[in-house]
């Protein structure tokens, strides 16, 4: 085993980059769950859609336009999903929601195949972020650093909005007790709708930034779904803190597990999830006591 400090810095940066990508995805999912008690398995499919939109837009207007437009387009799809299915499924049990969104995964996956074909697409990393940066004694791809910074910016933004603004206070009140919040004159339904759209946009953003790293293929949504669910269940559903903690735990366990114990790495994260559920059945930082 290497004792080189640079090696560990590199792994830590890799872990952080994976964590931030998962954070972008899981924060939307977890807040939607916390606020609406809605289990949206199609969140991964929205991420894949974000990557596809980004690939199409980037081919026409370049990367930065794609970076801005893909989340908007995915939020648009979110509006359609919300008015078509989710609004109607709000009052059903978790099982019905899991099944409807499981069906949506099938539908969205095949729709992307029909529109964009089966072959993986690729996006170029924008020229500005193409090189490598010397950082803490290691050379690290600028684009990956950009993902880390982006994740931290989104985290800071969300923490500010949720913790320090009136909208944030309304959202927290809605998570805590939606009936009471409605009694206090908050339009909880409209709040739900806005949060859902922001969650979808974040999933689209995650897809857009992941697209240059991975190839854009129809099943990328299915592949990311399980890690995202693990993150929010370890962290505890509904809380920002939980999404941060869950993403960091997943990113570091996955990355360092692969380095230190390659045979066990894939089992490790599932074992950790099982352990968390046994010890704290509602995750580490659940939104409600």
């Amino acid at each position: 085993m290497t004792t080189d400090l640079g090696f560990w810095t590199l792994q830590a940066l890799n872990a952080l980059q994976l964590s931030m990508l998962l954070f972008l995805l899981s924060v939307g999912l977890t807040v939607i769950f916390g606020l609406m008690h809605f289990v949206n398995l199609a969140h991964g499919a929205l991420y894949a859609l974000g990557a596809y939109f980004a690939a199409s837009f980037a081919a026409i207007w370049g990367y930065w336009a794609a970076f801005l437009l893909a989340p908007v387009a995915v939020a648009g799809v979110g509006v359609l999903l919300y008015s078509g299915f989710i609004q109607r499924m709000r009052k059903s049990g978790p099982m019905a929601q899991v099944l409807v969104t499981f069906g949506l995964i099938f539908v969205l996956l095949d729709l992307t195949r029909i529109v964009w074909g089966d072959l993986p697409l690729a996006i170029e990393v924008p020229a500005m972020l193409g090189g490598r940066l010397a950082f803490l004694g290691v050379e690290y791809p600028t684009y990956r650093l950009f993902i880390i910074v982006l994740g931290l910016v989104v985290l800071a933004g969300l923490a500010f909005v949720l913790g320090r603004t009136q909208i944030g206070a309304m959202i927290r009140a809605g998570v805590d007790n939606d009936e009471m919040a409605a009694c206090l004159g908050i339009n909880v339904e409209r709040l739900f709708f806005c949060v859902f759209c922001v969650g979808c946009a974040l999933a689209g953003l995650a897809g857009a930034v992941a697209a240059p790293l991975l190839s854009v293929s129809p099943d990328m949504g299915l592949q990311i779904l399980i890690p995202t669910l693990i993150v929010i269940v370890i962290g505890g559903l509904g809380s920002l803190k939980g999404a941060v903690a869950g993403s960091l735990i997943y990113g570091f366990v996955q990355t360092f597990g692969a380095v230190l114990a390659p045979q066990l790495s894939s089992v490790l994260i599932y074992a950790l999830l099982a352990a968390v559920l046994v010890i704290k059945p509602v995750g580490l930082f659940p939104a409600k006591g």
Partner: protein, 330 residues
């Protein structure tokens, strides 16, 4: 509690005669499809037992089936046990693992239970995917079928094997009905309806859940052993979470908590899959639309829908309790 209504008996007779007719008249391809239906039916029977009657919506039943399949494959080839011993051992191992999973997850409810079982299923999947003893992502081949030549039955014949699966499925159905009607099964349903009350009555809730989950895993293990013997080759794809998801879809399409419905669902699903995939490569799209339609219509699956409309017309039989509603407050 599970009841056999005249309508359910009629449906069973219809299903059995349809399967028998198919088994004696169909050619090779038809028999393969029949066997596929029968094995899937066994898996969804096991799943309906826990999901429909105890609210334990498991996303690891596909993996449990895989444990049975891999257990049989490794024990009968690498370990060199004779097929009957390997079968019994594989089913026993699956039941044991399933009991442990049930015991560990018994405290979780709703979405957490789904996630916890998903975690265990994926754990098994990733382990098998990497472990050389299980052939990794290449899978395992050279699996033998059970030798019943001493009573003059040759299971290497496709028709005979289909009939063998049918007989096993009938036995498993009988077993599931017996379990659900026993004291254990009644307590299990009681736990779904009101866990607090069952605890107040002095029952050990986690034991009840673990016991039924173990028995359900045993049936899934039998399905796995038959799946391994059917294809004579297994790959980790058998254990992926989407298999469990599909099994859940079949249970819902058929009718949760009816035991007969999932059998109907299995037949419909496999036939639909083969018919649609020969028409279009986008058959998942159609299955997805059907699934969304069935769940949003709030009918309890195909069978549940027909059963309820019959019951509403005659008013003689009790309307099936809406098991889907019960999981709401879990």
């Amino acid at each position: 509690m599970f009841h056999h209504t005249p309508f359910r008996y009629a449906a069973l007779v219809l299903l059995a005669s349809g399967a028998l007719f198919q088994a004696f008249t169909a050619q090779y391809f038809g028999l393969e499809i029949l066997t596929e239906i029968l094995i899937l039916a066994m898996l969804v029977l096991a799943l309906d037992m826990v999901a429909g009657f105890g609210g334990m919506v498991s996303l690891c039943h596909g993996a449990l089936m895989g444990v049975g399949a891999y257990g049989y494959a490794v024990l009968s080839t690498t370990a060199g046990l004779t097929p009957p011993v390997a079968m019994a051992a594989a089913v026993g191992i699956t039941a044991g693992i399933s009991w442990v999973i049930g015991a560990i997850c018994s405290r979780s409810h709703g979405i957490y239970f789904i996630m916890a079982t998903l975690a265990f299923g994926q754990m098994a999947y990733s382990y098998v995917f990497e472990a050389p003893i299980f052939g990794g992502d290449d899978g395992l081949g050279g699996i033998e079928r059970l030798d019943l030549s001493f009573i003059g039955v040759d299971l290497n014949d496709t028709r005979t094997f289909a009939l063998f699966c049918l007989v096993t499925l009938a036995a498993m159905y009988g077993l599931a009905v017996m379990i659900l009607r026993s004291g254990l099964g009644r307590s299990f349903s009681g736990v779904m309806h009101n866990e607090q009350r069952m605890r107040a009555l002095g029952l050990t809730v986690w034991r009840i859940k673990a016991d039924v989950f173990g028995l359900s895993g045993m049936i899934a293990g039998v399905a796995g052993v038959l799946a391994a013997q059917h294809i004579m080759y297994i790959s980790p794809g058998l254990m992926a979470w989407t298999v469990s998801g599909e099994a859940l879809v079949v249970v819902i399409l058929g009718g949760l908590g009816t035991l007969v419905g999932p059998l109907v669902g299995a037949a419909v699903f496999v036939v639909l899959k083969h018919e649609l995939s020969s028409l279009t490569t986008y058959w998942h799209l159609i299955v997805g639309v059907i699934l969304i339609g069935v769940v949003m219509s709030r009918a309890n699956g195909i069978f549940g829908f027909i059963e309820n409309s019959f019951a509403a017309r005659s008013k003689t039989t009790e309307i099936n309790p809406k098991a889907m509603e019960v999981t709401k407050d879990a």
